[in-house]
Amino acid sequence: MLVALLSSQYARFTAIAEAWLSLGASAFGVYQDERPLVYWPAGHQLARPSIKAPICRGEQELGDIRIAGLSGMAYEQRLRADASLISYLLQLENELQLMTVDLVTSQDQQLALYRLTQSMRDHVTVEDTLRAVVSEAVRMVKAQGGFAAFVPASGEEPLLVQHPEGVLPDTLAWHFYKASRASEREHMLSDVEPELARHGISNVLHVPIWVRGTVMAGLGLLNRPDGFGAPDIKLVRAIAGQASAQIERMLLYQEMFTQTKLRTEMELARRVQVDLLPRSLPVIAGLDIYANSRPAYQVGGDFYDFIVQPGRPLIFSVGDVTGKGLSAALLMTMTRSAIHSKSQFMPYPTPEAVMRQSNEDLYTDFTRVGVFATAFVGQYEPGSQRLLYANAGHAPVIYRPADGEPRLLRADSTAIGILPVSRCRDQILRIGPGDLLVVATDGFSDVRNPDDETFGIERLLDLVERLHERQAAAIATAMFEEVDRFGHGREQDDDQTLVVIKGAAS
């Protein structure tokens, strides 16, 4: 150490030596263990020094400086002052060296962490990330092996990766992880129990990885030849911090991906539903018709349809397929198409025949996927003032004769897809001037308010009674407004579909 200081501060030592020589000393030298390290003038080895002063680090004497040819109290004091200055220089040199070592280590670690972050950018799954973290941590800490565990909050399968594969039994890895999770801090075992020694484990360091405010993962390292010291713990904590940030990024990415997928699916379902609705309302002598459908965010399977062909009666349908989202939208198109094509191409379609055939077409597929579709099919011959209908499990359907009370029309058979053979029968309704038929879907009657009350059938009947004198469009608009008011801003749970048919003077 003294030698290193001499090399780096040689000019200062020379200056001190020259000052002594000019004061009259015959020689000046620096000694360690009674061996000269350097002396002035050249060739004078100070065989008989007159004064010596020790160079110390703390309590430890590392060497001395000595002179020859001068003596006395003043010279002794001055030489001690020089020795003390050199001791101080030595201490500074020592601190500088330690700081340099720390700096180099820290730079190495930062570089390694940077490389780790860069390499993790390419990973798109938590498992890939954990594998990279473990192998890099093992390399950086110079451990023999490592492992990382991850227990997703979403209830998916927990993950455990090891490097190298099989470095310790899975049960032990989970044991370390659980211990860290319970205490929320790192665990270090240097004096291992015989049970661990049996598996070739001499020391372990396990650090928890915090994800979204809880310990959701952990990083463990095994068998570092010199054990785990404070710098190793610091480094592994930093690696765990990187892993934490990367896992959080990964989870956010996965959530965004799922949400985007869901949004795309919902948008597609909504488009399928809206695009298949009739673009315009039919104009039929003797009828005032209005229809509208509002898909919910989680699109249901509502539809309505009008089949108008020259020389044939008007046929209309309203339906609701169970379920939500894209599957409901697809099954809705199947149901709507079945009813539409039967109505269009049967030589003499009646609601009963259309419903029976549609049930036959769809029963097997619907049973396989576990859904059904309620449907109402009506048929009107212009000028007849008579509506023929069949109702397969559809509700609510309200009829309000011009001269009577509103009443619910019960279905005459179960929904399409429940029984192999439809029991639908044609029913007849009078649709003369002022007679009113409202075919809604359960998205209307099931609307809830913030107090969790359901709108219900009774309110719907009262509403129809209150509105029956208005035109079909005005009745529908008021009904949508009323359920919106009742829902009080609560998000619509289900599609809401309404077909209003009112008898008018032809």
Partner: protein
């Protein structure tokens, strides 16, 4: 919604209370899928404390009924309140299901 399950006289019974709808039906559907997988499964759904059923809940019950029929089993319903029974009546599902006033009568029919 709350569900309580038990087995009595070899019949799998589930008691459902509160609203049975899209948001709450999932655990019921999972339980029904499980119990209707056994050949000859006999299942009873007690709706005495059920205040509301929506179309998704009805579809779940219909699916379970069909699964039961496929394994030569039976699924009965019992104890419906008037508002819930009205939904079954309006949609004619009262014709698809065997519905009993209470558990005792349903179990008698299932085990008799």
């Amino acid at each position: 919604m709350n569900m309580k399950t038990r087995v009595a006289a070899d019949v799998n019974i589930v008691e459902l209370s509160g609203r049975l709808d899209t948001n709450s039906v999932q655990p019921v559907a999972a339980w029904l899928d499980q119990v209707t997988a056994t050949p000859g499964a006999r299942v009873l759904v007690n709706l005495a404390e059920t205040t509301f059923v929506d179309s998704t809940a009805l579809a779940t019950l219909v699916r379970a009924l069909k699964r039961c029929q496929q394994v030569q089993g039976d699924l009965y319903l019992c104890g419906m309140r008037r508002t819930v029974y009205m939904i079954f009546e309006l949609t004619r599902l009262d014709k698809a299901f065997n519905i009993f006033v209470d558990e005792e009568h349903a179990i008698q029919a299932l085990t008799g």
